[in-house]
Symmetry: C2
Subunit: 227 residues, 2 copies
C-alpha cells in the first residue's frame, strides 16, 4: 500500500520558495493501475520521486506497506528501491558507460541473480522492446526513443511490485507506445501496481484511476473521464 | 535552400556497421514548413543533425544556399549554426550551470547583440513560453517540460532563418504543445523555414509537407495524409 498523508515538497531558493507539492494525500492499493496527469510543472515528477523513495517529503508522512519511509535506514530504502520498485525516469538516467544490455542487467546484479537467469530476463526484455540489435550500443549511440525503451526495459526486468513510469512514451511513435503499454498491462495482470505519469489523454484513459495534479495539489482523483 | 544529395551516415562499430542514413536526397526551399516522421531509430535525428551542420555526411553532398557545407571552414560552420539556424534538440542539451534566462540568452551573446536588446528578446520568449517565474532556475531545478520549453525558447530567440525542432513537444501537455506550434507558425509567417520531427500525426498534419523516413531512407515525401 502506498500512503501519502499531507505530503509537501518545498524548495527554498535564494530569492523564492517553490512549493512543488503543497499538501498531497493519496492512497494507492496493491494492484491498482493509476495515471497521474496535470500541466507541465505541476508536481508530477516530484510526486513520483517521493513514491519511489528517491526523495523525502519536506512535511507530511509517506507510509509504504505500513512502514513510515522516514523511519527506514539508507539500506532499507536502497532495498525497497531495488527489490520492489521499477522506475522509468522522464529523462531516462541511463549509465553512459554501460551498454543497453548492461544498463538493463544492472538491477538484477544488485539483486544477486545468477548470470544465466539474468541473461534470460534481459534478453526477453530486449526482444520485447525491439532492442536486440542495439544491445551493445551505449546510450550516446542510441536514438532518443531507443534510450527511452532501454529505460523501460530496465524498469521491467525485475518484474517489480510497483512500476513507476514518468512519461514513458514521449519519444516514441504511437505503435511503440502502445506496445509498451501492453507490457505494462501484462505486468498489471500479475497483480503488480502501476503508477504512470502521462500527458496523453488516450493513455490516461487506459488506467483504472486518474489523479490530476495542479500547482502541487490533487485537483481530481477518480475514474478516467470519457473524452 | 537546403539540398541533400544521396546523403549517407554510417557508424562503424567493432562488430557491426550501422547505416543510420542510407542515401537520402531532399531539397527544402526557403519558407517551407516540413514535418519529418518515421519509427524510432529510423534516422530522423541523424538527418536533423546533418541539416543543422552539427555533423557531416559519410557520403553524399549537402548544399546550403548553394554552398557545399563540406567546403566550409569551422568558422563558417559556426557562423551558420549561430546566425541562421535555431535547433531544438530531442534531449534539450541545456548548459547545466546556466539559468534558464542565461541558456536562452547565449545565442544572442554569440551574435554580439547589445544587452538591452538581448534582455527584451529573452523576456519576450520567457513570457510566451510561460517561463518568466522560472528564469533563474538552472536545468536541474526545472521540470522536464520546463527544460523542453527553455530549449524551444533558445532556438526561437534569434528568429532563425531555419528552425530545426527535433520532437519539441514530447514532454508537454496538449495545450502547451499547441502553443509552441503557434509560435512556430508565427515564425513561419515571417518567411522562415521550419523542419520539425514529430511522432504525433496531428502535428505532422499541420505542416505543408511530410517526409517519412524508414531504415535511413525516404519512404514518402509529399502533402500530409488525412487521418
Ligand atoms: N553514434 C552512433 N553509433 C552507432 N549507431 C548510432 C549512433 N547514433 C545513432 N545510431 C543509430 O542510428 C539509428 C538512427 O538514429 P536516430 O537518432 O537518427 O533515430 P531517430 O529516427 O531520431 O529515432 P527516435 O525517433 O527514437 O528519436 C538508430 O538505430 C541508432 O541506434
Ligand atoms: N530543485 C528544484 N529547485 C526549485 N524548483 C524545483 C526543483 N525541482 C523542481 N522544481 C519546480 O517544482 C515544480 C514541479 O516540478 P515537477 O518536475 O514535479 O513538474 P512536472 O509536473 O513533472 O512537470 P513536467 O510535466 O514538465 O515534467 C516545477 O515548477 C519546477 O520548476
Ligand atoms: Mg515531470
Ligand atoms: Mg530522434
Amino acid at each position: 500500500v502506498i500512503e501519502l498523508v499531507q505530503v509537501k515538497k518545498t524548495y527554498t531558493m535564494a530569492e523564492e520558495t517553490v512549493r512543488a507539492l503543497a499538501g498531497v494525500s493519496v492512497t494507492i492499493q496493491p494492484g491498482e493501475y493509476v495515471a497521474v496527469v496535470g500541466p507541465s510543472g505541476s508536481g508530477k515528477s516530484t510526486l513520483m520521486n517521493l513514491i519511489g523513495c528517491l526523495d523525502r517529503p519536506s512535511e507530511g508522512r509517506y507510509r509504504l506497506s505500513g512502514t513510515d519511509v522516514s523511519d527506514m535506514s539508507e539500506n532499507q530504502l536502497a532495498d525497497v528501491r531495488n527489490r520492489r520498485i521499477g522506475f522509468v525516469f522522464q529523462t531516462f538516467n541511463l549509465l553512459p558507460r554501460l551498454t543497453a544490455y548492461e544498463n538493463i542487467e544492472l538491477p538484477l546484479i544488485y539483486q544477486g541473480l545468477p548470470g544465466g537467469q539474468r541473461k534470460e530476463r534481459v534478453n526477453k526484455r530486449l526482444d520485447q522492446l525491439g532492442l536486440s540489435d542495439r544491445q551493445k550500443h551505449r546510450p550516446a549511440e542510441l536514438s532518443g526513443g531507443q534510450r527511452q525503451r532501454v529505460a523501460v526495459a530496465r524498469a521491467l526486468v525485475t518484474d517489480p511490485a510497483i512500476l513507476l513510469a514518468d512519461e514513458p512514451t514521449g519519444n516514441l511513435d504511437q505503435r511503440t507506445g502502445q506496445e509498451i503499454l501492453g507490457l505494462f498491462r501484462e505486468l498489471h495482470q500479475t497483480g503488480q501496481t502501476i503508477v504512470l505519469v502521462t500527458h496523453d489523454p488516450h493513455i490516461a484513459q487506459q488506467a483504472e484511476r486518474v489523479i490530476e495534479i495542479r500547482d502541487g495539489l490533487v485537483k481530481r482523483d477518480g475514474a478516467p473521464l470519457k473524452e
